[in-house]
């Protein structure tokens, strides 16, 4: 167990609690940067996809985990990101380095436009509304054929920045590094949100809108900002997703994708950056695992379970059920418990993480 004596407020504000933490994350970064030298193109591709999902997950996490709003329509922001970046590149001739943030901003704008009139909606109503909007976005994509290619969809040509090629099929390692770099920047932004007034404003509207406004937090504005930031992140993920897929159409960004992102953050652990990454790892590892099981374990047995259609979503849902039943704080929650167990060994008590009861939540204002 490490004991920390604080002599100034800076350590509470810094990104890393102490040297040890900084070292751990520095090592992680180095390993991530070096990966392409040890892996084949297939795995570099899978890793890139994991990071893209993690960005999308962070986007939804800001909304759900930080500000307490739900969305079943985040595929819409993936779509605006993907279509945005490719249209800006191909139709306006914008370089990728400008088209990417612009696509993020377009998605953010859509997010704010959705948020402003709907701030009075909570829970299931907001979920249904966002779901409806994402279906609407699919339709708009089909209708806006001259811009979006209609049902045929679009092709994303290689990303080129200052003459260097970052294309999926021409240089996957470069694409990986580009996505990794963006991911790191966005993690930094997320961390900054958590340690500044904006993050506290998010948490306050999540936990109690009544007292948030008593504290001077403008609930409507804060919800809109949360939606905007969330859809910016997701839009960036969408832009990379488009370039990773290279070809996509309206069906790429369907309801299943929205639900997948939501399940991802629940499985990973709602409310933490780690959760987005754990969820993303699960979601990309799963198909790999299944094909491994199919080819090596069930090979030759009379019924090959893993070859059943829809087995991926099935297993995914099974994991979700297990998580919700046994570890509501997701993989990250389980990780925290394990870590505390070893740090405090042998002092750990079983009910250390038990949920505490909350007092009178009804009759709020009386």
């Amino acid at each position: 167990m490490r004991t920390i004596f604080k002599t100034s407020y800076d350590p509470d504000i810094n990104l890393f609690k102490d040297r040890f933490h900084r070292l751990c994350y520095a090592l992680l970064c180095i390993v991530l940067i070096l990966f392409p030298f040890f892996l084949n193109e297939y795995f570099i591709g899978e890793l890139t996809l994991t990071l893209i999902w993690a960005i999308a997950g962070m986007g939804l996490m800001i909304l759900v985990g930080q500000s307490g709003q739900v969305s079943l329509g985040h595929s819409a922001f993936m779509a605006t990101g993907a279509y945005g970046v490719v249209i800006l590149q191909s139709k306006l001739g914008l370089p990728f380095i400008l088209a990417l943030p612009a696509a993020g901003l377009i998605s953010a704008l859509l997010g704010v436009l959705i948020a402003l009139p709907t701030t009075r909606l909570h829970g299931i109503y907001l979920a249904i509304l966002t779901l409806a909007i994402s279906v609407l976005v699919e339709d708009i994509i089909v209708l806006a054929e001259p811009l979006t290619g209609g049902v045929n969809g679009m092709f994303a040509s290689d990303i080129v920045i200052f003459g260097i090629n970052f294309g999926r099929y021409s240089n996957i390692a470069n694409l990986y590094w580009l996505v990794l770099f963006t991911t790191m920047l966005l993690v930094l932004v997320y961390k900054n949100i958590l340690r500044t007034p904006i993050g506290r404003a998010f948490a306050s509207i999540r936990d109690s809108e009544v007292s948030a406004s008593a504290m001077g937090v403008n609930v409507v504005l804060t919800k809109a900002v949360a939606f905007g930031v969330s859809s910016f992140f997701t839009g960036i993920a969408g832009a990379f997703f488009g370039h990773f897929a290279t070809a996509f159409n309206y069906e790429t960004f369907n309801v299943i994708m929205s639900i997948t992102i939501l399940l991802m953050i629940v499985i990973g652990g709602v409310g933490s950056i780690h959760g987005a990454f754990f969820g993303a790892i699960v979601i990309t590892l799963l198909p790999v695992l299944i094909s491994f099981l199919r080819d090596f374990i069930f090979q030759g047995s009379s019924i090959n379970l893993m070859a059943l259609p829809g087995i991926e979503t099935g297993i995914f849902s099974l994991i979700l059920i297990l998580v919700i039943l046994f570890e509501p704080r997701g993989i990250y929650g389980a990780w925290l418990k394990t870590r505390t167990y070893f740090e405090l060994f042998p002092l750990y008590r079983k009910d250390m993480f038990r949920r505490q009861k909350s007092y009178l939540k009804t009759e709020r204002l009386r």
């Binding site: 936990d207 939540k361 709020r364």
Partner: protein
């Protein structure tokens, strides 16, 4: 006069929750509202802090009408409040809860915060200094990094008081601050409320059932009965008032 209520009324369906109440709170005093349950005390607080809009009358705060303001705008003009049934942010630590109190006086916008510009760090430290003073004042040091959901009821009440204080208000509205507190905690509370007035120079308007506490700290007392303000004066005068006595015996 820091706060004047002019002829405030509010009905809920058939119930006259607040009935033509006029009330002045003087700069720098502790004013206590007493009255039986359902007398309309919390409703008056909710009208002052703009959660409810009165059907009649107006509210003046330091010579300005504040009837048009929204709840979140009150912190800007220096009004803070607590709730009868604790309304903290249960998934955050005590420190984070208190820091929210500083949100309304921040000078940065969310873009600067997302980029964590150097000015943001400096402002963060300034906020922390203010909040630490409140933590010291209320002896909350042992709970600084504890989740609200891990605290006892009494401690939560005190954290809520602390959160209101970290807003550095001019007028503090306390809705039954001593309800649910132990005798010991109530004694502490009495000292704190006096210091809030004397040392911090904050005007306090409080609702309280504990007449012992009211007697210790309040400069003036108002009695609310069925939405009517039936008497204003010292606690002795109020306790001698026939209408007040009847109301309490009647319930």
């Amino acid at each position: 006069m820091i706060l004047s209520l002019e002829n405030i009324s509010l009905n809920f369906g058939g119930i006259k929750a607040v009935d033509q109440v006029s009330l002045d709170v003087k700069e720098g005093e502790i004013f206590a509202l007493i009255g039986p349950n359902g007398a309309g005390k919390s409703t008056m607080f909710n009208i002052i802090s703009r959660y409810y809009t009165q059907s009649n009358g107006s509210i003046v705060y330091r010579d300005e009408y504040i009837d048009k303001l929204q709840p979140h705008q009150l912190s800007k003009i220096g009004v803070a409040r607590t709730f009868q049934n604790i309304e903290l942010f249960p998934n955050s630590t005590v420190l984070q809860n208190l820091l929210v109190g500083q949100n309304s006086s921040k000078s940065s916008n969310f873009l600067q915060e997302m980029l964590f510009l150097p000015s943001v760090r400096k402002a963060e430290i300034d906020r922390r200094v203010i909040v630490e003073k409140v933590i010291d004042f209320l002896n909350l040091q042992p709970f600084r990094d504890k989740q609200i959901s891990a605290l006892s009821y009494g401690t939560r009440k005190i954290v809520e008081l602390g959160r209101a204080l970290s807003m550095q208000p001019n007028l503090l509205l306390l809705d039954e601050p001593a309800s649910g507190l132990s005798a010991e905690e109530t004694t502490d509370l009495a000292f704190w409320i006096e210091d809030i007035k004397k040392i911090m120079g904050i005007t306090v308007l409080m609702v309280e059932h504990d007449l012992n506490l009211v007697g210790k700290v309040a400069d003036r007392v108002g009695a609310l009965v069925e939405g009517n303000l039936v008497a204003v004066g010292s606690l002795k005068e109020i306790q001698a008032n026939r209408k007040v006595v009847e109301a309490y015996i009647g319930t």
